[in-house]
């Protein structure tokens, strides 16, 4: 396992996160360390009978009935609320 700062950049891009340069080095090495430890999973052998024995819980369904729901604080909680159009404003997409 060799987790680099480039790997971190790639994942940060996927996860929409930023890191300072000093954070990056520490993070990359910590994550490398953790991923190295996780490598031990590859040694675990699992019999198919074990997987077959797992119970699968049932999905619970909802009847198709309207439950009216007003949400308080929609505008108060919004970081940039456009009151005129009752919508959330976001900066330009690209």
């Amino acid at each position: 396992m060799n987790f680099s700062t480039q790997d971190l950049d790639h994942l940060a891009n996927l996860a929409h996160l930023t890191f300072s340069d000093s954070e990056k080095v520490a993070f990359a090495s910590q994550i490398d360390h953790v991923l190295g430890y996780m490598g031990k999973l590859s040694e675990v052998v699992i019999a198919p009978s074990v997987l077959a024995a797992m119970p699968v819980p049932q999905m619970q369904l909802r009847e198709d009935v309207v439950t009216p729901s007003a949400i308080p604080f929609l505008a108060e909680n919004a970081p940039d609320w456009d009151a005129a159009s009752n919508a959330f404003f976001v900066p330009k997409i690209s």
């Binding site: 940060a12 108060e76 900066p91």
Partner: protein
């Protein structure tokens, strides 16, 4: 004071709920400056409910068992109209627009919500050092952590601020701080308590549970918050528990399993000694002790730190600065805004786990990490099922050590993760488990864990209750003022 004592005083008309609140806030105001268990208080709501309790008392009406009992709430459960911060900058000013199901049920029970309790940010951590606001101190030793992530929940009970609190447990977040602070805490069976309104960390593992001074007190709270909730599709279609009633029955003789893996060299000698003496105590009561092997436990931590971050990486994607929470207002494009908001709004541990979770789900790594971890999770569940064919419960230390000093694991996340070895397998299999005090080492509490079959909180708590009827570890309190 225990719940039963408070109930008696209410019944005899010796106290009012408003007076209980006055005393509660007085004690918090005097001493929580040192412990720092609460993030903020919910006085207006508490006094409103106290007024209702007192009005009903005055009319001689019967009250639900927990009426007028103060309650602390971990700050990851919504209380409508109050903030829910998850101890994160990204939600610092978020106002909850609805009640979590557990909160609605506590309000219905006329409990008095005292305030919201500190925690590791988004419940990620084992020390409450990851709170974005301040660390909570262990009431037994202010230089030590209270454990985590429900550190505020455990410390507030230990310090005698509240008799009961709500915590959440994803890999040990109720049990480990309960052990570190010398209180009792239960992680119920997955699906026993609704997660609706609990801010998700890892959805398949998260479970809300009670912390209190005794098993008996915790049983009251579990009975109040459990039971099916149609708004949580993973909530089991079962009625509320009736553990309080069960505790009144005589204890049967049980087979208690001791996993060898959890009493080995990674456990501190002092902790081991306390747990071993508890094992002997149970043996003397007539229970049968059976040693067993749980080989898959050695892979549990690695499994957990794949599955939990994977789920968390998706659960935390909603904090994008669009609809609520923090936003970087300087960014002029959407992607920069989202990335900066998250980059600045999340603390180091949360970012670490998002990256880890993103990695194990990403193209090319999914099978080796996430898919494999799910298989190992099945193996762990399977081993528990096998073990429970021979024993009724498993007994282990809750944590390998007593409370550690602040900063002890600051540079080594993996060392902190490995300390969850005894609690993590339980979440993997969705089982109920209790942590209760079983001794002291250098003035610090030691906790033991009792793990039961799915849905068998009765047996787990019955056995814990028996221990507390015969020992006094749970009645000991730290020297903060004088605990009533």
């Amino acid at each position: 004071m225990s719940i039963s004592q408070l109930q008696d005083q209410y019944r005899r008309g010796e106290i009012t709920a408003s007076a209980v609140l006055d005393q509660t806030y007085a004690r918090i105001d005097s001493h929580d400056g040192e412990v720092k268990s609460f993030l903020f208080h919910t006085r207006a709501l508490a006094y409103e409910i106290a007024g209702e309790v007192d009005a009903r008392l005055a009319k001689g009406k019967t009250l639900p068992p927990l009426a007028g009992i103060p309650l602390g709430v971990k700050d990851n459960m919504h209380m409508s109209g109050e903030k829910t911060t998850c101890a994160s900058k990204i939600l610092e000013n978020f106002q909850a627009p609805y009640d979590a199901t557990v909160i609605a049920r506590c309000k219905e029970a006329l409990m008095l919500p005292i305030g919201k309790l500190n925690m590791d940010e988004f419940a990620m951590g084992s020390s409450t050092e990851n709170s974005a606001f301040f660390p909570t101190r262990n009431p037994w030793d202010f230089s030590r952590v209270p454990g985590g992530s429900s550190g505020g929940s455990a410390a507030s009970v230990a310090a005698g601020f509240v008799p009961l609190s709500l915590g959440s447990d994803t890999g040990g977040s109720i049990r480990q701080p309960a052990a570190f602070c010398g209180v009792t805490g239960l992680k119920p069976t997955y699906g026993r308590v609704s997660r609706y309104g609990l801010v998700a960390f890892a959805s398949s593992l998260d479970q809300i549970g009670p912390l209190g001074r005794s098993v008996h007190d915790c049983a009251y709270l579990l009975d109040a918050i459990s039971g099916h909730d149609a708004r949580d599709a993973t909530s089991a279609n079962l009625p509320a528990t009736q553990v309080v009633a069960h505790l009144a029955m005589s204890q049967k003789f049980l087979k208690i399993g001791i996993p060898r893996e959890l009493i080995g060299p990674e456990i501190d000698d002092a902790v081991k000694a306390c747990v071993e003496s508890a094992i002997r105590w149970y043996e003397q009561q007539g229970h049968q002790i059976i040693w067993c092997d749980m080989a898959s436990f050695s892979a549990a931590v690695a499994t957990y730190y794949i599955i939990a971050p994977a789920e968390a990486s998706a659960n935390l994607s909603r904090y994008d600065g669009v609809r609520y929470g923090l936003r970087d207002k300087k960014a002029d494009t959407l992607k920069t805004m989202i990335a900066n908001t998250r980059g600045h709004g999340f603390g180091a541990e949360v970012k670490r786990r998002i990256i880890l979770g993103t990695y194990v789900l990403s193209s090319g790594y999914y099978d080796a990490f996430y898919a494999k971890a799910q298989q190992v999770r099945s193996l762990i569940t399977y081993e528990f099922q096998q073990a429970f064919q021979n024993v009724d419960v498993l007994l282990t230390p809750t944590a390998p050590t007593t409370a550690f000093a602040f900063g002890a694991h600051a540079q080594d996340p993996l060392a902190m993760y490995l300390a969850d070895i005894a609690t993590i397998p339980v979440n993997m299999a969705g089982l109920p488990a209790l942590s209760l005090p079983c001794g002291f080492s250098d003035g610090l509490p030691v906790g033991m864990q009792i793990i039961g079959r799915a849905w068998d909180e009765n047996t787990v708590m019955g056995l814990g209750h028996q221990f507390q009827l015969g020992t006094d570890y749970h009645t000991r309190v730290p020297a903060i003022g004088s605990v009533a």
